[in-house]
Amino acid sequence: MLDGKHKWIGIDMKFKLENTDENLDGEIVKSVGNNEFVLKIQGKERDLKVITMTHDKVEFMLDSVYHITKYLENSTNRITLVIDGVKLTFNKRPDMDKIVYKHSGSDSAADSQINLKSQIPGRVVSINVATGDNIKKGDVVCVLESMKMQISIKSHKDGIVKSMKLKQGASVAKNDVLAEIE
């Protein structure tokens, strides 16, 4: 599925395009090497090749069409960018988290592990389960904020929450154990 070497995490992004009724949904399906990726945008597979990327700029080819994107704002609730000279704003969809992690564990053998680890450093925005809760794979365990984006961390397996290692507002480092789920 995801390129093992680079540990691509399948992000599922859901936005609403400002000033329109347009809802958008997309995810990275896989990395195919040479800076090329397969994405799923609005349910359709698309090929993307990165040309250059910096902290606020992406130049890329999407299905053989060149685009340049510059990010002007990247906050919790909205992302404003200029693409090919056109300014647009994505708003967080009110019905769901903006970014849902499909995979929280980094290993393919995640199911057998007890520890739910954080892939990213971040600040704990909310804790959504408590010790003793019976949860299912994919349930949101907590929400972290990182680089001004809120990211839901989901359980990597079905099980019972044995312990929570988090405090609201606290910072977690990469690979910190967030919870034990048995």
Binding site: I11, I28, N35, V50, V58, F60, H67, T69, I83, M147
Partner: protein, 497 residues
């Protein structure tokens, strides 16, 4: 003969004048305020002198300082550009007194052009058609009411000292006229020490068409065709073109001759502009003479092949205009869009700040006059015109297509501009068919269409933007995770070489 010109201006017009100075082997002297030490005109001129604080009254309007700097720098002439001191008769007089060659008309001629009522009077005597209204200024509201009654409402109440759309009020009835008169009279008294208002018939669905003029000190005079400047907002021009879609050679000859007559009537010498209103029935009415180079002079340059700044300098040198009316032919079509730093959706309010990035379009038939460069600043102290995009084509359609392409290449990061608005206008069937008028934006609800266009554009790009955002989020995340691990992966291709 002029050897060194001080340019009493800033921004794109100062640069425009420097370019002609360079072409003629004339030294150029720039002046700059505290705000402008980094400006492009300072960098381009042969020399540059600091003349004061940012506020125009302390720098670009400081007549004594500018005259003094001219003498210190050894310049023998002043080019005033447009705005600032360009139509200040007192300054023209001061230059004459100090034996500085002012590149423009005499103070006397300028006074006549500047005093709209006196000018109108002269024009009526010279049998130049003018807009129905008061014969001279009206000091009393009762007099204004009489005039309005005789020519019929709605009428415009105008200040003699106005210009560029300022000091004009539209009134529909007696009550509005009384109110407007009181306010306008007060404003005028506060600013100029006297109330100098006049009343003119309001003409609906008018076009603004102007004729480029040139007259030398030997009395030779020509017109260099018309410019159609009907696309405006708040009485200020946004898009200009030459030729006008409603002017054929017969009309050009006829109105051009009237324009030349107007220049003769005020004993004008310099390049200048006679402005007219054109009604739907095809009749033209003279409004005023602009006694200076216009912002929109490049469209005339592109269809005539002339360098109007050179022509101004030649005339100031006392030379004869080196061509006759019959030598001038309209070649193709040219359109100009003013690139202002302003927010279309905030009623065109100024938008100022640092320009982080700019891409200036180029290509066949594309000309850009601008002071922009990456890292420059758009100052709140001065007007919002950052530059002008001008295209030329063999015909209107080619010029229009080149304009839409050039507009999409014109990227300015840091301030808002009307570039998206221009795209909507340029692509509208009404603009294409030439159905122009000064109320074009309102008449065709252009701002609503612009909103729709922008929605459509954003919608068309939304999937690509989402794709970028997915990958970019990964990148940011990986960057946090490990700079080193992924640095090779994200190294740009450019760096590879």
């Amino acid at each position: 003969m002029i050897k060194k010109i001080l340019i009493a201006n800033r921004g794109e017009i100062a640069i425009r004048v420097i370019k002609t100075c360079n072409a003629l082997g004339i030294k150029s002297v720039a002046v700059y305020s505290d705000e402008d030490v980094n400006s492009k005109h300072v960098k381009m001129a042969s020399e540059a002198y600091h003349i004061g604080a940012a506020s125009p009254s302390q720098s670009y309007l400081n007549m004594e300082k500018i005259a003094e700097t001219t003498i210190i720098s050894g310049a023998d002439a002043i080019h005033p550009g447009y705005g600032f001191l360009s139509e200040n008769a007192e300054f023209a007089d001061l230059c004459e007194k100090k034996k500085i060659n002012f590149i423009g008309p005499s103070g006397k001629s300028m006074r006549l052009c500047g005093d709209k009522m006196e000018c109108k009077d002269v024009m009526i005597k010279a049998k130049v058609p003018t807009v129905p209204g008061s014969l001279g200024i009206v000091e009393e509201v009762e007099k204004a009411l009489d005039v309005a009654h005789s020519i019929g409402y709605p009428v415009l109440l105008k200040s003699v000292f106005g210009g560029g759309g300022r000091g004009i009020r539209l009134v529909h009835d007696e009550k509005e006229l009384r109110e407007a008169f009181e306010i306008a009279s007060g404003e005028s008294k506060a600013a100029f020490g006297k109330s100098a208002l006049f009343v003119e018939k309001f003409l609906p669905k008018i076009r603004h068409i102007e004729f480029q003029l040139a007259r030398d000190k030997h009395g030779n005079a020509v017109h260099i065709f018309e410019r159609e400047c009907s696309i405006q907002r708040r009485h200020q021009k946004l898009i200009e073109m030459s030729p006008s879609p409603v002017v054929d050679q017969k009309i050009r000859d006829e109105i051009g001759e009237i324009a030349v007559k107007a220049a003769v009537a005020v004993d004008y010498h310099n390049a200048g502009t006679a402005e007219f209103l054109r009604l739907d029935d095809g009749s033209f009415y003279f409004i005023e003479i602009n006694a200076r180079l216009q912002v929109e002079h490049p469209v005339t340059e592109l269809v005539s092949g002339l360098d109007l700044v050179k022509l101004q300098i030649d005339i100031a040198n006392g030379q004869e205009i080196p061509f006759k009316q019959k030598d001038l032919k309209v070649n193709g079509c040219s359109i100009e869009c003013r690139i202002n730093a302003e927010d279309t959706f905030l009623d065109f309010a100024p938008s100022t700040g640092k320009i982080f990035d700019v891409n200036i379009p180029s290509g066949p038939g594309v000309r850009v006059d601008t002071y922009l460069y990456p890292g420059c600043t758009v100052s709140p102290y001065y007007d919002s015109l950052m530059g002008k995009l001008i295209t030329w084509g063999q015909n209107f359609e080619e010029a229009r297509q080149r304009m839409t392409l050039a507009l999409s290449d014109f990227y300015i990061e840091g301030v808002e501009t009307a570039i998206p608005l221009y795209q909507t206008i340029l692509n509208s069937k009404e603009f294409i068919s030439g159905d122009l008028s000064t109320d074009f934006l309102d008449r065709f609800k252009i701002l609503d269409r612009l909103r729709d266009d922008m929605k459509k554009e954003a919608s068309g790009k939304s999937e690509a933007a989402l794709a970028a955002t997915l990958i970019h989020s990964e990148f940011l995340k990986n960057r946090i995770k490990s700079h080193k691990e992924h640095s090779v992966r994200w190294k740009t291709q450019v760096d590879r070489h």
